[in-house]
Amino acid sequence: MIPGRTNPPDLVVRHAHVLDPGSGLDGVMDVRLSGGRIAEVGDNLRGTRELDADGLHLFPGFVDVHAHWRTPGREDEETIESGSASAAAGGFTGVVMMPNTDPIVDSPVVVSGLVRRIERESRVRARISAALHVGLEGKRLTEMRLLKEAGAFCVSDDGLGTASAGVLRNGMMYACSAGLPLILHCEDHTLATGVVHDGVAASLAGIPGSPASAEDVATATALILAAETGAKTHITHVSTALSAALVAFFKGRADITADTTPHHLTLTDDLISTLEGLYRVNPPLRPDADRDGVGEALRTGVVDFVATDHAPHASEEKELPLEEAAPGFLGHETAFSALHTEIVLTGKLTLSRLVEAMGCAPGRWVGEGGRLTVGEPADLALLDLSERWTVDSGTMISRSSNSPYFGKTLTGRVVGTIVGGELVHDRTGAQLGTRG
């Protein structure tokens, strides 16, 4: 159902402030979209359909390489339809779906089933991450080449990590020769025995903690093996300052990239004191020093981009004591707004770097989108950077409502999302019309 195949009539977005750090565009101009691609960037462009974007910003569409759309198996929490609508509401035009579903995405038949459902249901360009090992059990490698033939884009150990360095190394070598990048969730389960970050807040609250080393040790292992095997490896949801420093060390020594999440950039473990299940997430929220270290790594480009780890959960899995709640937050719909409010408007990060980290860089990683250049796919996000809105469960498009930002007033909001030249999320109201 991805638009662009239907060949919509030309759309001109007029008078938007176009910002694309990738191509160096930064100013008010018009963009004409035709045949699903960016046809023209300039002044006084006309088209069959015109969208007056005066006062709005136009960015390359965001790409989220880490989303749990719970399909197959937990369609009560999210479907491809609702997940992609939620992504579109956050300005995302591309998404990578994680494999820890039920059944796990470890066989070609599950992949081909997802491919068909994506074609029917997805509003955005959804890619499939298959499992690195069968059942995500960390023992036997999956039939990666058959998974790739069925439509998998990459492989991942997400949700669990890979306990055995030997299995991970073989998996990297095999994925490398199969031409598949890896997304790795770095967590050592012999260390990660708690449910929150093992720090002062956990001690005060009496909640069992997992030390930061649970992430750092596994990150070091993954990076060392990536350097040795040459596998294209992406370290997802980096949440500690040390892991970010390890990534920095291995830049240029291995084919690696890394992301961090909006929540690790904006929230800290002081939320543990609420004792609310809502705030359980993996990797856990960290202290200020880690949040700031990861934020600095994002600023300098050591951490290449942002991914949300969009993780919908039914209310019965979150309205529980912290220790019993399922880990994970909704991510798509609040990602830009939270980061804009918390780190751009506070001067910690430039708007340009945020756009790069949400659009250009992950777009480069998936090999499509993230560039507002003539000939590229017409995947764009239109935002009102001055709109203030309060996050509440009633406004969520996701089927679930486990956002850590409930009740917060954020500044900046997605007004429209365009995939393949068509508006797949539209809050522009009467601004869109047909003109002679």
């Binding site: 069968v134 023992k139 036997r140 490698l141 999956t142 039939e143 990666m144 080449r145 058959l146 030997g166 299995v167 073989n170 070598m173 095999y174 490398c176 020769s177 199969a178 095997t229």
Partner: protein, 305 residues
């Protein structure tokens, strides 16, 4: 005088390869015989083997040698005797040649330093298997017309290169015979930095055909590596690295050192089909090993004279 161990083919040049193959043909045609009359050949096999052990024994007997067979179970090895002590014992008992199969790479080389008798490496761990490479050259050159017809031909070595002593011997053998060699394997079954060997590394039999391979040389996939650790499944392996009928174009030849896992390395209808040299490779075992034993014991000079 003139004895020569066969530990690897590292120091064997193209002319020597040709001489051994010529001598093998002479053995096959019956124009030489009894080259080992009065000699004692000791077969020391410390690892299971069918075709290698049998063909060495037949070769030695047909050349007129006395043959002593030693297996791990039926020898003092099972009592904990070291390889070196066993070799010294065989040496003092008067062996004129020791044929050694051992599970550890370098065993033949170690043995050769402790005996005056020539040592013929019949396979050492993941190290070398030089007589296999020689019989492969023999079978292939015979199928193509002659030794010089190997020049410029392309052979794709497919499968578990990492653990294969056959690969470590056939790659230099084919190269010295003037052939071009490519490796076809998943990354998990390739030696580290295989690209540094200067050979193309391909990732499926189809890619080998795109590379215009004349010969598809499939290696045995060892059972303990079949699932999980280094490859996901036999099915996926067979899909990308198994030689099937659809891969056979005019003149494409298929080889395998045996024993074949049918339907995995080579499909059942190809193993003994028209394109297959697998039976020819087995048949080459006796004449080639006769030639090797003849050269090793220094008897070749007498043949030449």
């Amino acid at each position: 005088m003139g004895i020569k161990s066969f530990l690897s083919l590292e120091h064997t040049d193209r002319d020597e390869l040709r001489e051994i193959l010529d001598l093998a043909r002479a053995h096959e045609e019956g124009s030489v015989s009894q080259t080992l009359a009065g000699k004692t050949v000791c077969l020391a096999f410390f690892e299971a083997s069918t075709r290698t052990a049998v063909s060495f024994e037949l070769a030695a007997r047909r050349c007129g040698a006395d043959v002593i067979s030693l297996s791990e179970q039926a020898s003092a090895i099972s009592k904990g005797e070291s390889l070196v002590d066993t070799v010294v014992t065989l040496d003092r008992l008067g062996a004129d040649a020791i044929v050694l199969r051992h599970p550890a790479a370098g065993a033949a080389s170690l043995a050769s330093r402790h005996t005056a008798a020539p040592v013929v490496n019949a396979g050492d761990g993941c190290g070398q298997h030089p007589t296999q490479a020689l019989l492969d050259l023999y079978a292939l050159s015979k199928a193509l017309g002659g030794f010089d017809d190997l020049l410029g031909r392309r052979v794709a070595i497919i499968g578990d290169v990492l653990h294969s002593r056959v690969a470590r011997s056939v790659i230099p053998a084919f190269t010295k015979a003037g052939m071009e060699v490519a490796l076809v394997a998943p990354g998990t079954l390739l030696p580290r930095d295989a690209g540094a060997w200067g050979l193309p590394v391909l990732s499926s039999v189809d890619e080998a055909l795109d590379w215009e391979a004349d010969v598809l040389y499939a290696l045995r996939l060892q059972r303990e590596r079949m699932t999980g650790a280094r490859i996901p499944s036999v099915g996926e392996y067979a899909r990308f690295f198994g030689v099937a009928r659809r891969h056979l174009r005019g003149g494409t030849l298929v080889m395998h050192p045996g024993p074949v896992n049918r339907g995995i390395e080579i499909s059942g209808d190809v193993v003994l089909g028209d394109s297959s040299l697998v039976p020819n490779q087995v048949a080459a075992g006796v004449p080639v090993r006769s030639a090797v034993l003849t050269v090793a014991t220094g008897a070749a000079q007498r043949v030449a004279a």
